[in-house]
Symmetry: C2
Subunit: 242 residues, 2 copies
């Protein structure tokens, strides 16, 4: 764990740049974390890498930080998307948090035939969790969370040069993992809902020229376990864990 | 997801074997799941594989099931243990559930210098979660959850022929995964607490002849993410996902 506080801000970051704080940020830094003028923390904004910044003014309703030096360059994750069918609340939060830690570039809730609660996706909350996970994991890139969209619609607009991996229970017990060369034009992992894909969806997915079935071992994994396992194997085989 | 109900019982399972139900089990099958005489479900006991069983008597306070045929042989997971420093409640539940799905043979909470809440481990609850996860994931083996023990004590009694993998933040950014031959005498993965290992512990771990440091990519992972990622990579490289 990084011991220095890391804070996400919208503001541009650069040498000598002053960053004014919102009331909420001021409350967190000066109320909760008890920082005072002179304390140094880390700032990220998802675009300019990570910067050391010093508290210049600390107030109850706001404050000012001054950027000092860049401590990490901007690091882009591999071009890997995670598509998942929304599941119940805590488990969905978990997927979003873990996808951020594991370096997904884009996180896309997709509604499938057997998806139960696509309407209950609280996008703002998921976006806040992505920001918090980025602060925590030391990354400089904040993945985008897209609005829930029907799987069929997502596939209708798919760039066919992007490989789509999907996990199917029919593959249980087959050798797990990602084989073959790294996709040249980005990749995506699709995790089905708790009830699996419908027969129609499964048939459609199998016939997509850009789709590949993968296996995740001999046991049935919950959706959030499958998401973490698939992202891990992809990153280790083809992504930025190599 | 398996659509047939899977229930864990303590009772021996075999052809023609009658299994009497506790009040709690009867409530679940007949009250919650609305089963009646003649319904077929799956039974596991962690020793005899998976069996189809028919409801013979359904009562409010109990009932009787009759074993029909074995539907899966007993399948042992690889000899892989997960050692982890207890973390806060939901995240610890998560580790235990995921370790079961991912096929750990033994789950061991270990107290380290920086462990915050070793005393708060509710062993019975964790064991119940392991049983529930086994029912859900289609496995036939129920991993053991051991009582929380100090890491130093665990290592003092270690069988030196068992490889111990541990994750260290000093390795962040190194190539991830498990290399080298599969251990001949079992393996264990040790996940440190949120604050990492203490300098003393790190030094001790590095000097153990049976220990190997592993990397889990360029970002800092939360303890439960690290547990899932490490179990996944091990199973895919050396375990039963091959």
């Amino acid at each position: 764990m990084a011991s220095k506080v890391r804070l996400y801000v919208e503001h541009p970051l650069g040498e000598g740049q002053l960053v004014s704080l919102s009331r909420e940020q001021a409350h967190y830094l000066f109320g909760v974390m008890r920082m005072t003028a002179g304390t140094v923390l880390s700032l990220i904004n998802g675009r300019d890498g990570e910067w050391d910044a010093e508290v210049i003014e600390a107030g109850k309703r706001g404050g000012v930080l001054g950027c000092q030096a860049q401590t990490k360059p901007m690091q882009m994750p591999p071009d890997l998307w995670l598509l998942f069918a929304p599941i119940r609340k805590e488990r969905m939060s978990f997927i979003v948090e873990k996808a951020t830690e594991l370096g997904a570039a884009k996180i896309m809730p997709v509604q499938t035939s057997y998806t139960n609660n696509g309407d209950r996706v609280r996008l703002e909350k998921l976006q806040a969790q992505v920001v918090e996970a980025t602060e925590q994991c030391g990354g400089t890139f904040v993945p985008e969370v897209t609005a829930p969209t029907k799987l069929k619609q997502v596939l209708a607009n798919w760039d066919v040069t992007r490989t789509l991996y999907f996990c199917d229970e029919a593959m249980i017990g087959e050798a797990a993992g990602f084989n073959g060369p790294a996709p040249t034009n980005g990749a995506a992992i699709l995790i089905g809902p708790e009830g699996g894909f419908s027969p129609d969806e499964r048939e459609m997915l199998k016939n997509l020229p850009y789709a590949q079935i993968i296996s995740l071992g001999p046991r049935i994994l919950r959706a959030e376990t499958a998401a973490v396992a698939a992202l891990t194997l992809w990153q280790a085989a083809l992504g930025d864990w190599k």
